[in-house]
């Protein structure tokens, strides 16, 4: 009797110990990820904030300057404003085509037609190609004298500019490359959105006598507004993070006309060794992205039909 009591107690004890251990077991599984995220994301974020209040050239010790970096950026750095303006210009060139072209493609590909896979494939290729290959490819295409684009324009008697060395045309030229690269991605987002629209809406509309055009504009477009909104936000945020394409295609030129945010940040950090100054730029960027997202979320309430 006593013996069995002891035994049950022992079993119960090991069980609770096991349960207690089980409660924390999950930490072991997430440990590698959490260590990585703390070490390579959170610590750098903290360090970046700290550095943005200092001036530092990586040689002499950092010097505390308070908000001076931010103040100088906003009030005295003319190129900073130019670059910020360029980035918005870049976004401005991108938004409309990246929202509309992929929608057309998705609408065409949503129907059960033959060779659908092959067509989709064509629009994915730009997406999986690296910015280096894409940048070089388009530098050659945009070439003023020997480029294919100007040659094609010459068929219709248009004398194309020297795209990438023209102060006005360089930015739209780069922007069109970005649109081209994003076609496949945005198309897939639209296709997913289209699949979410229930068929009975179209059937009901057809019975009520709606033609294909009014079905598209009265049902498809309103129900795709969440996707459009997502594409809009992602495209704008993307323009603030573009580096490789600019580096390969224009190096920010001619005369800073394609110098965009991250490119200038890189020039400050690694060209001029102004680590504190560049960190302040990074934080302003984080705030800009946050604000854009918030504004777009607010605006979306007015026109997105969820």
């Amino acid at each position: 009797m006593a013996q069995s009591q002891v035994l049950t107690r022992l079993v119960a004890k090991t069980k609770t110990r096991e349960i207690r251990w089980h409660r924390y077991e999950g930490y072991l599984f997430v440990a590698p990820l959490l260590i990585g995220i703390v070490a390579f994301i959170f610590l750098p974020i903290a360090a970046s904030l700290y550095m943005s209040f200092h001036t530092w050239d990586m040689v002499s010790p950092p010097e505390l300057v308070g908000l001076k970096n931010y103040a100088r950026l906003v009030s005295r750095d003319r190129i900073f404003w130019k670059v910020l303006g360029n980035t918005f210009k870049y976004a401005g060139w991108i938004i409309v085509p990246s929202v509309t072209f992929p929608l057309i493609l998705a609408a065409l590909l949503d129907r059960p037609i033959r060779l659908r896979y092959l067509y989709r494939l064509a629009f994915f290729l730009p997406l999986v190609t690296s910015v280096v290959a894409v940048g070089l490819m388009f530098r050659w295409l945009y070439d003023g004298e020997f480029g294919l684009i100007n040659y094609t324009l010459s068929w219709v008697r248009i004398d194309g500019p020297n795209w990438l060395s023209d102060v006005f045309w360089a930015m739209p030229a780069v922007a069109m490359v970005t649109v081209w690269q994003g076609l496949g991605y945005n198309m897939v987002l639209y296709l997913a959105g289209l699949q979410g629209i229930p068929d009975h809406l179209y059937e009901a509309a057809t019975i009520d006598g709606a033609g294909p055009f009014s079905r598209f504009f009265q049902i498809t477009i309103p129900l795709l507004t969440p996707t459009m909104f997502f594409i809009l936000v992602m495209s704008v945020i993307g323009t603030f993070q573009t580096f490789g394409l600019i580096y390969v295609m224009t190096q920010g030129g001619p005369i800073n006309s394609t110098n965009v945010y991250i490119y200038y940040l890189w020039q400050m950090a690694f060209g001029s060794s102004k680590m504190g100054y560049a960190s302040a730029m990074a934080w302003i960027l984080a705030m800009v992205i946050f604000t854009i997202t918030m504004i777009q979320v607010r605006l979306a309430r007015l026109w997105v039909h969820y």
């Binding site: 599984f29 970046s48 493609l105 129907r111 037609i113 280096v132 490819m137 997913a192 997502f230």
Partner: protein, 287 residues
């Protein structure tokens, strides 16, 4: 009456046929427009330098030559660039699959204090712009002597994939839990369940993540550009991008470089296409 109906069906069919033809024509035109740059890249890479600058340009090389590719690989370093890229990609993809699947399993199936808060913290890192972290990351890497090694390109990618964790966790939720319950009753440990049940079932999602992280690693330009400046450490992307300045603008050679850089991702993409599409649409729907 009946004749009229037959006629209407016939005209509906005609309409459909017409719509299909128009769709095909539009898609062919748009598809060719989207592919034309690739055509130009490939065609130029097989041209002689003289022919590349010919006006009017030739669509197909008149005298196809492998000269540009030969020049590329004669530069001994190009082979090393390729090796570096493969090494970095394989290690970061492998590591990412392990850490993300471990964490995803815990977030989906295990219960531990603070789980939800931790998951939200992990997710929130997806919104942090790379620009904010790259400068201090560079400084830290500089301090520990990792600049001009491949470690800054491998270790963070291995250990901090919030996207991968999110993707795999979502997938775990779609898997039946009964098998795991049965295994637990039979005395299988959590790690055993992860290793023997969850991991094999996660294969399609792992393939998706693998495709994505391979492409991200292979196509990465900013990272290698910041952390490497010894030539023998370059990845192919960096090699082709930087060497373009030393090669006086030899377009056939630059295009050959672009072709070589693009081929591996193209292969992975063609072989694993369906996983790729799933990976894009998943966060898209959620977003």
């Amino acid at each position: 009456m009946r004749a009229a109906r037959v006629e209407r069906v016939a005209s509906l069919k005609q309409q459909e046929l017409l719509a299909n033809i128009v769709t095909h024509i539009l898609l062919i035109v748009l598809g060719l427009a989207a592919l034309a740059p690739f055509w130009w890249m490939i065609s130029t890479s097989f041209k002689t330098e003289f022919e590349a600058f010919q006006i009017p340009p030739t669509w197909l090389p008149l005298e196809p030559t492998l000269e540009a590719y030969g020049d590329l690989f004669l530069d001994q370093l190009f082979g090393i660039f390729l090796y570096n890229s493969v090494k970095i990609a394989v290690l970061s993809v492998g590591g990412q699959l392990i850490t993300s699947s471990l964490a995803a399993f815990a977030f989906a199936r295990l219960d531990f204090p603070g789980k939800n808060v931790l998951f939200i913290i992990v997710l929130s890192t997806m919104m942090v712009p790379y620009a904010v972290t790259v400068i201090p990351l560079y400084i830290v890497m500089h301090r520990v002597g990792w600049v001009n090694t491949h470690l800054p390109l491998i270790v963070p990618a291995m250990l901090s994939s919030a996207y991968g964790t999110f993707l795999l966790r979502q997938f775990m939720f779609s898997l039946p839990i009964e098998l795991e319950d049965a295994a637990r009753i039979d005395g299988c440990s959590s790690f055993g369940i992860y290793r023997r049940i969850a991991l094999p079932l996660m294969k399609p999602a792992l393939a998706t993540l693998g495709v994505f992280s391979f492409m991200a690693s292979w196509n990465n330009f900013f990272g290698p550009f910041i952390f490497l400046d010894r030539k023998y450490l370059f990845t192919v992307q960096l090699g082709v991008a930087l060497v373009q300045r030393q090669w006086y603008t030899s377009w056939p050679r630059l295009m050959a470089g672009s072709v070589v850089v693009t081929l591996p991702v193209l292969l992975v993409f063609l072989l694993l296409q369906r996983y790729f599409v799933r990976g894009i649409s998943l966060p898209g729907i959620k977003g």
